[in-house]
Every structure is written in structure tokens, then in C-alpha cells.
């Protein structure tokens, strides 16, 4: 198992791997976005087309799952940034795993349950906020007991399971991808010298391609489910 560099600050423990990975990817997302939208014109150029396609894509996710038009406007930005950020974090571990000595310095931050839980918690809190804004605090709590009163505890439990499935699905997929990639690269490739190295190269390539696919799907699923959860809070059942 990899070890990561942990330090304590203000009584909270920080894992440097996740911080480096997420910060790096946040910067990448920011620069990609700025680069793509450097010259915004009425007649779109190629780069603008790309970012508009992405925006249309995430807007499509939002519009498919949130029927409330006011919420749609607010969620457009959230879905756009969340999708790009998670996608880039998923991709990070595929082509880069930097180790210094025993410490893993760079890997996919999303291969860590803390990361995915942070984002799932963000979605959960957002859904609370949207629900309370729409129906008021009392109306929001009454929605838990609708249509029948005894569903209240079940609905409360559903919040927790939503949170867990949302976060652990992403984490599990990316973590498994990384584990297999590490196994191919670190164990299989070096087990019998040159022959296994040659064998491992195409295997790693295939698995990387598959992981790109999985990473994209998971980013899409994460954003979609986030929107589903939020959308459910702003519509009366």
C-alpha cells in the first residue's frame, strides 16, 4: 500500500497527495476554461465551440433532471465546474503517479473516499439549500413526510444512502482502476524481467483507455446523480 504525506494543521490532518492533486487539477480546469474562452464571439471560433459544447452537455444534464427553471440557472455553473473538475481528477492518476521514496505525491484525488465524500457532501448540502429556499424550512421537512407520514424515517435514511452511494461509486471505480494499473505497472511488469514488461505495456495501455472511459462515465454519473438529488428537492412529489 502507498503511503502519503500527512501533516497536521490547526488540529486537522491534511493529506498532501489529495491537496496537490486537487489543486493541480483545479488549476488545469481553470486554465483550460480560460484558454477555451479567451475570445468569445457571436460567431464561435473552434475553441469557443469546444467550451460551448461542454456547457451544452452539462446544461443538458441539469435540464434533464431539474425541472425548476430558477434552479437550473444556478446549477448550470455548478454542474459545469463539477464535471470538469471530477473528470480531470479522474484522469490525473491514469498518466501520472509520482512517488518520492515511499510517499505518493500525485495520484487521482478521486481515488480517495475523503475526496468523493467531500463532493457528495457538497451536493447534499446544496440540495438542502435549494429545497429550503424553494419550500421554506417547514415545507422542506414536511416534504420528507410526503406523501405518507411513515415514510419520514425512510426518506431520512435515503439521504444518507444517497450520500454514500454517490461518493463510494466514484471512489470505488477510480480506486479500482488505479489499483489494477499499479498492479500491472509495479508487480506484473517487473516480475520476470523483459518478457513481462513487454506483455504489461499493451495491458496497461488497454486498461488506461478503459479507465479513461470509466472516469468519464463516472464523472457524468456523479454530476447526473447530483442533479437528480437536487432536482428531487425542488419539485413537489
Amino acid at each position: 500500500m502507498e503511503k502519503s504525506f500527512v501533516f497536521k494543521f490547526l488540529g486537522l490532518s491534511f493529506d498532501l497527495t489529495g491537496i496537490i492533486g486537487s489543486t493541480l487539477m483545479a488549476l488545469v480546469v481553470l486554465f483550460v476554461c480560460i484558454w477555451l474562452s479567451r475570445k468569445v464571439e457571436m460567431k464561435p471560433n473552434k475553441r469557443q465551440n469546444v467550451i460551448e459544447y461542454l456547457l451544452d452537455f452539462t446544461d443538458g444534464i441539469v435540464k434533464d433532471n431539474v425541472s425548476d427553471e430558477d434552479a437550473q440557472k444556478h446549477l448550470s455553473l455548478y454542474a459545469f465546474v463539477l464535471f470538469l473538475f471530477i473528470w480531470f481528477m479522474n484522469m490525473l492518476g491514469l498518466f501520472m503517479e509520482v512517488k518520492v521514496g515511499d510517499w505518493t505525491v500525485v495520484k487521482s484525488p478521486t481515488a480517495d473516499p475523503v475526496t468523493t465524500m467531500s463532493f457528495a457532501m457538497m451536493t447534499l448540502l446544496l440540495s438542502f439549500t435549494f429545497g429550503m429556499q424553494k419550500f421554506g424550512v417547514g415545507g422542506y421537512w414536511r416534504n420528507y413526510a410526503s406523501p405518507v407520514g411513515f415514510l419520514f424515517p425512510i426518506n431520512i435514511i435515503e439521504e444518507i444512502t444517497n450520500f454514500l452511494t454517490l461518493s463510494l461509486r466514484l471512489y470505488g471505480n477510480i480506486y479500482a482502476g488505479e489499483v489494477l494499473l499499479t498492479l500491472i505497472g509495479n508487480r506484473l511488469a517487473v516480475s520476470f524481467g523483459l518478457p513481462t514488461m513487454i506483455l504489461a505495456a499493451p495491458l496497461a495501455m488497454i486498461w488506461q483507455a478503459f479507465s479513461v472511459f470509466i472516469g468519464s462515465i463516472q464523472a457524468y454519473v456523479f454530476v447526473t446523480l447530483s442533479m437528480v438529488y437536487i432536482g428531487r428537492k425542488v419539485t413537489k412529489e
Binding site: D15, S22, M42, L55, F85, S118, Y171
Partner: protein, 169 residues
């Protein structure tokens, strides 16, 4: 599934990381909104409005063109009708005039004919009257001649016959 296996990849729960992610994400949200999402979605909305406006104006233009074409067609139909009317009017006019001319000519001809007849009659009566006068004179002359020449009765009859024959000729 114990708590430890769930966090197998983490060893510890880094609450600090969660806060860090939230801060990074919030910053990213703000920066992307300011630099990319804002301008791009604004432009997309602008373009959407422009497309809507263009479509509307295209529809109204098409309507305008349609009404114009209809008007033109109606005008064309009108002018065609007018042309037919003018032609038929002209034809009727021509007929009228020509028949009038023919009638006039006929009338003229009959009047000329009548006049000629009258004149001819007049001439005839004049001639007969003349001839009568002359016959009287000639008779007188013949009588003078007869008296002077002493003609026989037969000769005289012949003479008169001859004379009358001559008159008839």
C-alpha cells in the same frame, strides 16, 4: 464492512482535506464563472436571442413578401381584365363605326341614286317638252314647206312618218 476497510485507501480521515477541497472548489467556481462560464453563457444567450430575433424577422419578412406577391398578382389580374375590356371596347367601337360608315354610305348612295333618277326624269321631261316645242316648230316648218312645195297626200304622210321616225331615233 468496517470503517477501516471503507477508508482503506486513506488510512485516516483527513477532515482537513475536505475543507481544502471545498475551498479549492469554491475558488474554482468563482474563477471559472468570471473568466469562462460567464462570458460564454452570456454569449450563448445573446446568440439564442439573436437567432430568435432573426427567425422572427425572417417570418415577418416572408409574410410581407407573400402579401406583396399577392398584391402584385391581383394587380396583374386587374390589368389583364382592363386590357381585355379595352380590347373588347375597341372592337365594339370599331363595329359601331364601321356599320355607321356603311349605313352612311348606303344612305348617300340611295340619295345620289334618287337624285340622279329625279334629274334623269327631269331631263327626259325637259327633252320631251323640248321635242314637243321643236315638233311644233318643225310641223310649222313642214307645213310651210308643204304649202310652198305642194306635196301629194302620200308624200306628206311619208314626210311626217319620216320625221317622226327621226324623232324616235
Amino acid at each position: 464492512m468496517t470503517f477501516q476497510t471503507l477508508f482503506a485507501a486513506s488510512y485516516h480521515i483527513y477532515l482537513g482535506n475536505a475543507i481544502w477541497y471545498l475551498i479549492v472548489f469554491a475558488l474554482l467556481l468563482l474563477l471559472v464563472k468570471h473568466y469562462a462560464w460567464g462570458p460564454v453563457s452570456k454569449m450563448m444567450e445573446k446568440r439564442r436571442q439573436k437567432v430568435i430575433g432573426d427567425l422572427d424577422s425572417a417570418a415577418s419578412n416572408r409574410k410581407k413578401a407573400e402579401t406583396l406577391a399577392n398584391e402584385r398578382e391581383a394587380a396583374l389580374k386587374n390589368s389583364r381584365q382592363e386590357a381585355t375590356k379595352i380590347i373588347s371596347d375597341a372592337k365594339a367601337n370599331v363595329q359601331k363605326t364601321s356599320s355607321k360608315i356603311v349605313a352612311d354610305a348606303n344612305e348617300n348612295a340611295t340619295s345620289i341614286h334618287k337624285k340622279a333618277e329625279v334629274e334623269a326624269k327631269q331631263a327626259k321631261t325637259d327633252a320631251i317638252n323640248d321635242a314637243r316645242g321643236q315638233v311644233a316648230d318643225i310641223s310649222v316648218a313642214i307645213a310651210e314647206k308643204v304649202i310652198s312645195k305642194n306635196l301629194s297626200a302620200k308624200d306628206q304622210k311619208d314626210l311626217v312618218d319620216q320625221f317622226i321616225k327621226g324623232l324616235d331615233d
